[in-house]
Structure formats: C-alpha cells, structure tokens
C-alpha cells in the first residue's frame, strides 16, 4: 500500500471541499472494499478522506410513505431496521445474503453502491484489465470467467457488479442523492450504475468530486410477494453466480405489476422493461415465468466458463418468480430452495 495523507471531514460540504483538492483522493466509510484494494495496490489514493463522522446515519420515514436511508447507514442496521423489515423485506433479505455479519457491520449503504467488481483480473495487477488500467486489455474474455457477465458486456470488459443490496434497490426503483461542488442532484437507480462500453473504468455516473448522501426508497415495497434468491458456489459468504430479486403485485392470480432484477450477470443490476411487460396482466404460472425469463435472456452471451449461467439464470428466474407469487420468499438461513 502506498503512503497517503489521512483527512477527516466534518460535514458534507467539508467532504466535497476536501475531495475537490486532490483528484487522487478517495472517501472512506466502511473500508471493507477500499482497504482491500489498497492492500493489493489496485487503488492508490494519495489522500484518504474519512467520512465516517458525517451526519448521514439516519433511516427516516418520509411523508406519504417511502424511506430515506443515509449513506453511512451500516448494512446490518439497514437490514434490521423495523421499517425495512416490514415494508421492504426484499431489501433486508438481499443485504443479509451478502458478505458476513462482520462485514455488514462495517459496510455502508453508499459504499455498497460504489463497491468494485471482484473479477480476478481486476485484482491481479500482473494481468491486463481495462477497468483497472484502461487500454491494457480484458484478461477475463478467454480467461477464468466463471464469475463474469453474460448480459450487457462489451469487448473491453465482462465484469459484474458484486452487490446484492443493489439488486433489491433496482426493483424498488430507489433514488440516489448526491452532493458535489455544483450542488445536489438525484440519480434514478437504473441510471446510477453503467454498462462497461468503451469506458469500463467508470462503474457509475457519479461525477468526480461528488459524494453519495442518501438513498431514497419509494413507498412500493412489495412486502407481500417478494423474494431474493441467490445462487452461489457455497451456501453462505460467497458472491452470486446468479441472483434474482422479485417484487410482484397480484390481483388474485393475475400479475398487476411485476418487477425482477438479476445480480451476478452484468456490470449493473440487470432489469429489463420488456421482460417485465411479459409479466403484466398475465396469470402467475410457470408458462408466464418461463416466457419472461426467455425475454430477459434473449441477448445473453456466454464466454466459455460462465456459459452455464444462462441456463442457471433461466431456472433461477422461474424459481424466484414462483417463490414470490406463492408468498414463500427464500430464507437466508435455512438454505433449502423451495
């Protein structure tokens, strides 16, 4: 790890001022991803700005429903918050499926949004990686790509976004509040993370010098018919091969509104309006679910070692939609998939 200057921000304005001084500065909150990457020399900030003292640790109910989650709310505190457990159980479930309790006790909401890919080659500084070093090539295409993407890839990058929390936030249509030198703005969740395209070094549409201050959850929480199904190489404490977050609003047997997003398959949580249109107004049955899965996966592309993910995703989508429709969400402690 290279040397760095340690600075502590007192409030959001101070944090924005400090980051504006040095293009090689990084904010630190939970530190669970940044410190790991600094030890590996993947991240080399010359200033580390400690934002843990900023007043962004509140979860607040909003007038008219909805929730405002401060960027520094720890993952466990968010998952265990009574309003989240009651109104947004898909979010609680997704968070509890990720990492370990020690890491969830440290990791912040904003940091979870901004965590980097766990692609082996991004971490291995001896290999080419366009995300780590633009122009150095993608070693995952044709390499060990079992964990890599099948949707929304480019020739330059097939990395996946590793978050579980973000997959649930995608179907909840969360909004990301950010502050910067030119003021505050709100970014729709679908527009927050990017596809790799020709610029895989940019994970998000956050501008240089901006800070995430809060995540807002709209009132619709799908508390009755939801699931978060995560399929991985071991039953706990592993990143997703494929995960599926589902929220359904049913009228009897008919799907009034259906949302689903996939984790572990793309550079961002993967939602597809066409696939969700295939659910709307249809009976909640196996034929409908299979059709929606086919639509979502119509352009899926395997890279050899990860090609199995296409069929795994197809079955995972059908299983997760079934769990949500039955009102029997996946348990994150009993690992039985029903």
């Amino acid at each position: 790890m290279i040397n760095f200057q340690y600075a502590r921000a007192d409030d959001v304005a101070d944090a924005v001022r400090l980051i504006g001084r040095n293009p090689n500065a990084k904010f630190i909150a939970g530190g669970t991803n940044l410190i790991d990457l600094m030890k590996m020399d993947v991240e080399r900030p010359t200033t580390v700005i400690d934002i843990t003292r900023l007043p962004l640790e509140q979860v607040e109910g909003m007038p008219g429903g909805g929730l405002r989650v401060g960027a520094l709310v720890r993952n466990t505190d968010l998952a265990y918050h009574p309003l989240v457990e009651q109104h947004y159980p898909v979010l609680a479930s997704a968070i509890m499926s990720g990492a370990s309790q020690q890491l969830r006790n440290m990791a912040s909401t904003g940091g979870n949004l901004l965590q980097r890919t766990r692609c082996h080659y991004f971490y291995d500084t001896a290999t080419g990686c366009n995300k780590r070093e633009p122009g150095s090539g993608c070693s995952a295409v044709g390499g060990h790509n079992r964990m890599n993407a099948i949707l929304g890839t480019s020739d330059t990058c097939i990395a996946v976004h590793p978050s579980d929390m973000c997959v649930a936030m995608a179907i909840l249509e969360a909004k990301v509040h950010v502050s910067g030198a030119s003021g505050d703005r709100v970014i729709a969740f679908a527009d927050f993370h990017r596809l790799p395209g020709e610029t895989p070094q940019r994970d998000t549409n956050l501008n240089a010098g901006e800070i995430v201050t809060a995540v807002e959850l709209p009132p619709q929480g799908f508390a009755k018919n939801y699931t978060y199904l995560k399929i991985r190489d071991r039953l706990s404490y592993a990143f997703a091969l494929v995960s599926v977050a589902v929220g359904l609003e049913l009228d009897g047997d008919i799907i009034k509104e259906g949302r689903f997003a996939l984790g572990g398959v793309a550079h961002k949580p993967w939602r597809d309006p066409k696939a969700e249109a295939a659910l709307r107004g249809q009976p909640a049955n196996a034929a409908t679910f299979a059709r929606a899965a086919d639509v979502l996966l119509r352009d899926a592309k395997g890279y050899g070692r990860n090609t199995f993910k296409i069929e795994l995703a197809r079955r995972g989508i059908a299983r997760a939609l079934t769990q949500a429709a039955r009102g029997t969400p996946q348990s994150q402690s009993s690992k039985k998939v029903i």
């Binding site: 790890m1 290279i2 040397n3 760095f4 200057q5 340690y6 090689n24 630190i28 530190g31 669970t32 410190i35 790991d36 030890k39 080399r44 010359t46 580390v48 400690d50 843990t52 466990t76 265990y80 990492a99 370990s100 309790q101 020690q102 890491l103 006790n105 440290m106 706990s236 404490y237 994150q332 402690s333 009993s334 690992k335």
Partner: protein, 179 residues
C-alpha cells in the same frame, strides 16, 4: 524511506526513487480504549487495527489469517459490534471502545463462551478460535440467531480450517441457552 535491497550496490539503491504518487504521510494521533485501558498513539495512517493490536500493543490474541476480510480470524468488537480488524485503518476509530479476546475474561474467570469452547472441544489448531469467540460474543449480543441454521449463517464470516464447526455451533448454543 527507501529500503536498501540486499545485493544492489549502494549507489544504485540510493538512486531508486519512489513513484511520483508516493508521498511521506504524516502520522495521525489516535486515542483508543482497548479492553478498558486508554491508549494514546501516533500512527502511520496505513496502520490497521489488527496491526496496531499485534505489532504496537503486543495484543497477539487477535490473529491475522487472510488479511483481506475473508476468514474472520481478526474479529474484534468495537462498541460491542463484531468487525474484521484487518479492514480498518486505526485512525478511523479514534475514540472507539474496543474489546479483543484478551478483554473477555473477568477477574480470572473465563467468559462463558471461552469455557463453552473448552467444554465442547470447539477447536483443533486454535488459530481461528479467538476470532470465533469474539464473533460469537457479537452474535449473542445481536440476539438474531435462534436456531442452529441461524447460528451457522451468522457465523459464516469465521472460517475454521480444521472443520470444528459442529462443536463451535454446540458451544454457542450452550451459552445462548443460558442467556
């Protein structure tokens, strides 16, 4: 400071310059209460809590396993919550209350979890044990695990290379049953 590599002539070693983005970092003043005792230190900002405990304070009960947040051997309690001490900069925890494995026994009596690990033979080599016990203290304080499945899931951040999991779960269940 540029370390002089063995086998490189002195002039060549002296000519080695650090990369342009490497600057001398100023030390940071940090005060921490560890196992009830206040420590005031001046630290290189790169110092993790794990290295502070082991290398600066000689509290070597906390173990370094993977040093990247994957094994749980370095688990300690901050304000009663379990965390991975390897993924922290000590400077961020200025003012914090920290408990390590050395702080669990009271007046010469083992913490109930320490005793339960002995009762159930919940280890072989013992390297992960201090992290397992600190993690279990945090688990019981959280009051979320009610059965063996939930204990296993919420203890999954602590890897045991010897595979003593069955007895670890039994030890934790014994203490949970009492509290």
């Amino acid at each position: 400071m540029v370390p002089v590599a063995i086998g490189i002539p002195a002039q060549a070693a002296a000519a080695v310059q650090p990369p342009a983005d490497v600057t001398e970092s100023a030390e940071v003043a940090v005060s921490l209460t560890i196992n009830g005792r206040l420590h005031t230190l001046s630290l290189d900002p790169r110092t993790t809590l794990l290295d502070l405990l082991r290398e600066h304070l000689d509290l070597t009960g906390t173990k370094k396993g993977c040093d990247q947040g994957q094994c749980g051997a370095c688990t300690i309690l901050i304000g009663g919550r379990r965390i991975n001490s390897c993924l922290t900069f000590a400077a961020m925890y200025d003012g914090a209350q920290i408990t390590t494995i050395e702080g669990l026994a009271a007046n010469g009596t083992l913490h109930p979890l320490q005793q339960a690990f002995i009762d159930h033979d919940a280890f072989q080599c013992g390297y992960c044990t201090s992290g397992q016990i600190c993690s279990a203290v945090g688990l019981i304080a959280e009051d979320r695990a009610k059965n063996a499945d939930q204990i296993r899931e919420l203890m999954s951040g602590n890897i045991c290379r010897c595979g003593a999991y069955t007895n670890i779960v039994a030890a934790i269940k014994q203490v949970m049953g009492r509290s």
